[in-house]
Subunit: 289 residues, 2 copies
Amino acid sequence: MSTSLALIGVGHIGGSMAAGLRAAGAVHAIHGYDSDSEALEQARSLDLIDAVHPTPEAAAKEVELIVLATPPSAIAEVCRSLEPHIAEHQVVTDVGSIKKPVLQEIEQACGQVPPWFVPGHPISGTEKSGAQHASSGLFRDRRVVLTPVSGTDSGKVDRICWMWEQLGAQVERMDADTHDALFAGISHLPHVLAYALMEVLTDTFPAEELKRYAAGGLLDFTRIASSNPELWLDICQANREHLAPVLEKFQGRIGELIAALHNDQPDVLRGSFTTAKKTRDTLRPDGHE
Amino acid sequence: MSTSLALIGVGHIGGSMAAGLRAAGAVHAIHGYDSDSEALEQARSLDLIDAVHPTPEAAAKEVELIVLATPPSAIAEVCRSLEPHIAEHQVVTDVGSIKKPVLQEIEQACGQVPPWFVPGHPISGTEKSGAQHASSGLFRDRRVVLTPVSGTDSGKVDRICWMWEQLGAQVERMDADTHDALFAGISHLPHVLAYALMEVLTDTFPAEELKRYAAGGLLDFTRIASSNPELWLDICQANREHLAPVLEKFQGRIGELIAALHNDQPDVLRGSFTTAKKTRDTLRPDGHE
């Protein structure tokens, strides 16, 4: 049984959802809106969406599932504009990397978090931007975290679970604040470090030397520094309550390692490196990294 | 025309050189020594070496090329033990990630850097350890940096160039101190950051959460945190003259980003992220990362 979908935001994540849901036979019509009209036209020409619309409300009008695949800072405003038009059978979800600050914005914009809004976050790390990189398999065997609030309609949550399962993802539930604290550490912090490292290297070495000698370690380490800067600025600013403390903790540890280098205390470095390797070795699933 | 090879150290790098040189038909006999007798026996049973020897001198006795594929801290001592036995036709090289401190140790151990020693460093970033992960293609299309000193025999340098070319690598020359400053930034610094991040995450989140939610970005970022801790301790300690300043520069930038988060100065983060992305996008060769 297939349904109809509206994508508000047709970038890499939205485009990949369209491609995957279509490949699974889960949707028969995909309506699209994007504030960037070129991106919208591109998604249409790539056959990721069937129809383009001038507003989120127009795109959402005839469908059951409405996915807000916009940067986090746009979500509350779209919810406000959709609110007067949402019908009984419709459900709205998002794909943002931060949850609690967005829920607070929605609460301010709509008076409450509407029962038809199911907060979601697919854990599908990629540095790519744009519908041209859409991949129908992006969410296969990935986890998706939903962070419903007490007023969220449980039937709507079930529909969003169904949608992600069509994409091959495994759905988990978590409290929004717990989500934001965890992802501040395992996602937002590495992004800031990768950006900062790349910036420091740019400032320290000639561009030609970097291009000539960058090898596997550096390239893997800094892959995420190719991520969309505006999107990550948005995420880091919104999640600063959790990001700043973990960044400070990291900074403190770096200070201890610098002191250990100056004071010839190899055991401090050894302890850090050994603990890290032990954990890292548990993370790598057999057969792929 | 093939030659004979002695490997002093039969881990991942040494084993991969053996496999690659044999595959290229460049060597007809490979003699091996390792301070770890189990590793030595393993390399023999994997057919990476033809004969095992009880000392570096014994392994080196009958060969033309002698490769010191040991951790950097062992190189000077092996040079000292080989020195009385090196014949006119023999050449010795190493594969260490740091050059100048090792050359200084060799100078202390041997009175000078011997003309038969050609300092080398293959840029073949991998987090793997042990001969069981040896790969004959590890050096294909990679760069190798040689840092000969004024007294190094140029004919010996040519032989080491020949050896690396057999492995498909591209050889470059650089001053030892320039090498150490560059790799402090593009290799040693990312290793310290990956280890430190993994340690901080270990200390902050339950192991189960890390395993469950670690996705592509974190896994790539921390791949090098699976590297051998003792080897990297060795490298970081030896290169601390260059590593400490670049680590301090990085720490300073992190401090500025933390302040920008606290003071709501998005332009500071935007500047950092944008500069970083611009450089990173130039590093990724088309078609692979």
